[in-house]
Symmetry: C2
């Protein structure tokens, strides 16, 4: 009997496909002089260096606050997608290792300068768990409006100089952050009662280069010549600097890795995103939290999580993302410009967006699609044989075969191998600037049982080759049984679901449809503006059994049709219910939308 | 007979110690598509990559202009001493190779962007010859003064917008250079008749941050609120930007290399120095020229040549360096701060000057001296066993032995192994901002038969641990039979020879003398100010058989003693001759100067 059980366990273990970590070493970091109350950076860097070549080590931190300073930190030049590249000093430099676990024991890792707390590069099978990341000082400043003079378009803010030390010079305010002097730069007004961006916050946007800032006594600053409309007294102007120094410090940077887990990790602050992941195969976030600490309204300077050029499965369970200055999650690939066909199956390629410079776009063996740069519709597929990186901006890509004739117009390329599946269950994303979810991937997407309450779109399925260059026309998306609450409280025409390539500049719709097979069903939408779904260039769209309930949390608004279809095909709108609105809600479709079935809905008015 | 001769040649060859390059390959670059009239960057980068592992290759360029653009250039993050570190795009990326020769065939290599034309890193036995380096656009701007209003402290300059495109914004002028917008920043007024900095140019220095710049019609700009004294009509205000974007592009960067030759190479422009050399063993410059092209008064943004932490012999023969915005040559080591003794023979060290960050200060086997940070006098020597680089700023150095007790005061360290000999013969350095020669090295220095005419000191033997952190108290310097002409035409108290540690801030003189054994003899000094030698903390100084002739090229001046001795020992002043001065010239010595012999001089007056 006993023998059989052992055999069975062995079989199960072998079948599970995991790397062997039985008997793995657990290191109490206190045994290496890593204790609260001092700068542990050097000791942590050193201990990591010493264990990198071991398989299956756990670094166990006894609970406490551990302080990290930049002075003695390991540094490397790093390209970080969607951030500002540069020399990065690191708290946990995890390079080329496998099955390492950082178990924080519910500790706080407190950072004291411009650092990247965690870097994972060529890591297999790592787990980060049970810690929070915070900084001793914010990468933004929160300024409370104490006087608002609508007629003069000027207002006065109160600054806490302990939290946000500043200098005034030539009518400009500069915030001192970790050795830098940051101007106002990007900014948004928050509402301290909702801990979210103020309704219609765009009205109060400060023109940083035009703003004149003068002393108004007692750490109060008067801001003039900068706004169309003065923000109300009691609201909080959040200012967060300018490129190329405002996105230097994501909390966690992952690249070229696989089989990772982030579990019970909280990020309270970051000079960038909480988590940016590049070219990684399988990653699970379980109870990851991004939130502001009690002293601040705002958490991270940018997105909670962002994934570019990944594969395998991205899985998010039971996460909470709130108070960020950008999106909750964004999953996409990259459209890269083909600068020139050099002949001999070689293409000179140029990474299009400056915050993708340095990206590993492709490696030998990857399948890529060649596309029209204007319609972003593919005309050929081929396999990468070699990539010769010239600089962060350009590379030469050799492929296995090239079509007999290439189109006359401009071309782009996307990597088909590196698109992930996405599974999101039981997550909350709310009270942030911008969207809850952006997703463009050719993988299978399942978004269910989540709660979304974002200022702009709830879920944006976009894709563009003219602004962010985020690729990945979708092919299989299910969005079901989620709650969308007060989506679009920015006051613009923001939908719980918008699926449309971004068409601007030279972009235009091609003959084929861009996105395919999107199912939006069983969702509960609590709404002050009556918006549900906008779709353009989608073939295969089902909007089914959703409930749209009127909410009076924000002033009622009527910014557009409830369902808006433009150049879509095979659309089913069935069994949706509207309750509580004082006006009829509309379904609108363009004349080139085809094969639409609308049935059994309650409370809609179909516009011909 | 024949046999014997062959044997003899073989013996001579073997004894000469050169690496075998018989039968070395000569490649005509035209055979690889590298021809004038197109962007050759990619092809040159590629060809270099293909030959790096060969020994003794010559790349032969047929005469012509070859154009290099940054778009497709190979790029690496590079720390470059005395420059601004960052991503560098390269024309000739020479890494890890030996006995390569780049023979330009008298061609011009024309650069079209922010690039480093030549990089040599871990190169043995290379030769660069027969080419000139130029840029399509300057890293500075030359603005001709067309109106000068002394009473208003304002003036008007004429700008050539083709050569120096600019924008005006908020009363500031920004010059567009290769994608950057550079403010006035550093500046100096040149005299177009002498093609050198104007006499007393400091009077006209423009305060860039205070300056108000407005349109004065027809590409004329009025500059107000910026100068103590308006520069004269006809003079040329040269403006050259600010750190950290004003020293990104030296023309030639050499590091960790040995046995190099630069021969008949001309540098007409650089966004930094013409040549910066780090940690290199033996380098010869023969007929190297730094000069401005016909369109400009000014050549390089910084020094003609600069050597930090080298060994072997630095040899300069028949070079011409003129019209630079900084020194002709500077040879020195680095004083590095000891932040903390960590115990176990480990020192936490910090590179002191921000433009030395990233320097390879030492490697295992190097002898280093530990010194008082204040007096820069050594108290111990030891050998480096390990260097663990933490970041560009700090490293941990393990040494073989540590004194039983370390001093209480702050400590520094210098590298004794990496000090070179310097031989300079038959060179001309003139018409530049700043000095002709700076040299601090423990090696043997011979400077003979050169012609120097610089705005500040002729030869500066300094060393400091509080500003530039340039180490290398000298021990054997001979300066003979040179001509010094109008040294110090900046108008300050600048000497043909100044030998003194820079004492400022916390620096102070120690009990021992800092410099030793300097001989200044047989030189001809043509002077409007009657200055010859100033020395402080020198033991062993001979000033002999020099001729000091009055020159009326600049207004006669009397800024200080002709020979000025402060805390010197063993000084001989013998057989020097003064002619043509209307006043008696003085020799002055401090009361703590000892063992002075003054004899057989003509035209001097000794001040007690």
């Amino acid at each position: 009997m006993k023998h059989s059980l052992t055999s069975l366990l062995l079989v199960v273990f072998l079948l599970s496909g995991h790397t062997c970590t039985l008997g793995a070493e657990v290191i109490n970091v206190a045994d290496h002089g890593i204790v609260p109350g001092k700068d542990v950076t050097f000791a942590v860097n050193q201990l990591i260096q010493d264990v990198l070549d071991k398989d299956g080590v756990t670094l166990q931190f006894p609970k406490g606050q551990y302080d990290f300073y930049p002075e003695n930190a390991i540094e490397k030049y790093r390209a970080v997608a969607n951030h500002d590249n540069g020399l990065k000093r690191m708290g946990f430099p995890l390079f080329d290792c496998q099955n390492i676990t950082i178990d924080g024991g519910d500790s706080t890792f407190m950072f004291h300068g411009r650092m990247v707390p965690v870097t994972m590069d060529h890591v297999r099978g790592a787990t980060l768990k049970n810690f929070s990341i915070d900084w001793i000082r914010s990468f933004h400043a929160e300024l409370t409006v104490v006087e608002s003079n609508a007629n003069e378009q000027s207002f006065v803010v109160q600054v806490d100089p302990e939290a946000y030390p500043y200098t005034l010079q030539d009518s400009k305010v500069l915030f001192q952050r970790f050795g830098q002097e940051d101007p106002i730069g990007s900014n948004i007004v928050f509402d301290p009662t909702t801990r979210a961006p103020l309704h219609n916050t765009r009205d109060y946007s400060v023109n940083s280069s035009r703003a004149k800032v003068t002393q108004a006594g007692g750490n109060r600053l008067r801001i003039t010549d900068a706004v169309k409309k003065s923000p109300p007294v009691g609201s909080v102007l959040v200012v967060y600097g300018v490129h190329p120094t405002s996105r230097l410090c994501p909390a966690i940077h992952v690249t070229n890795s696989q089989d990772l887990r982030i579990e019970n990790v909280t990020v309270r602050e970051a000079g960038g995103m909480a988590l940016i992941v590049e070219r990684t195969n399988n990653i699970t976030l379980d109870h990851m939290v991004v939130t502001s600490n009690q002293d601040h309204l705002v958490a991270t300077r940018a997105d909670a999580t962002h994934f570019i050029g990944c594969k395998g499965t991205i899985k998010l369970d039971d996460c909470l993302f709130e108070h960020m200055l950008d999106d909750g999650i964004n999953v996409h690939g990259a459209y890269v410009k083909i600068e020139k066909y050099l002949g001999d199956r070689e293409f000179l390629c140029e990474i299009s967006h400056f915050q993708q410079w340095g990206l590993t776009f492709a490696e030998p063996g990857d399948r890529v699609a060649l596309l029209s740069r204007e319609t972003i519709l593919p005309f050929a597929e081929t396999t990468v044989e070699n990539v010769h990186v010239l600089n962060e901006h350009r590379f030469v890509m050799t492929v296995s075969e090239v079509p007999e004739s290439l189109p006359d117009g401009p071309m782009s390329v996307e990597n088909l191998t590196w698109y992930p599946d996405l599974e999101m269950r039981n997550n909350i994303i709310r009270e942030n600037r911008a969207r809850s979810v952006l997703v463009t991937t050719k993988g299978k997407v399942l978004i269910e049982n989540n709660h979304f309450s974002s200022q702009m779109h709830g879920i944006l399925i976009e894709g563009d080759n003219n602004k962010w260059y985020e690729s990945g026309a979708v092919g299989d998306v299910t969005i079901r049984n989620n709650v969308f609450e007060n989506i679009g409280f920015s006051g613009s025409q923001n939908y719980p679901l918008l699926a449309s390539p971004l068409l601007n500049g030279a972009q235009r719709m091609g003959a084929g449809h861009y996105h395919r097979n999107i199912r939006f069903s069983g969702n509960t939408v609590k709404s002050f503006n009556g918006l549900l779904v906008q779709a353009r260039s989608v073939s295969g769209l089902t909007i089914e059994a959703n409930t749209l309930e009127f909410s009076d949390d924000y002033p009622a608004a009527d910014p557009g049709p409830t369902i808006d279809l433009d150049y879509c095909d095979h659309v089913t709108i069935r069994a949706n219910t509207v309750t509580g609105f004082a006006r009829p809600l509309t379904i609108q479709q363009s004349s080139d939308t085809t094969n639409v079935t609308i049935e059994d809905n309650r409370g809609f008015h179909v516009v011909p």
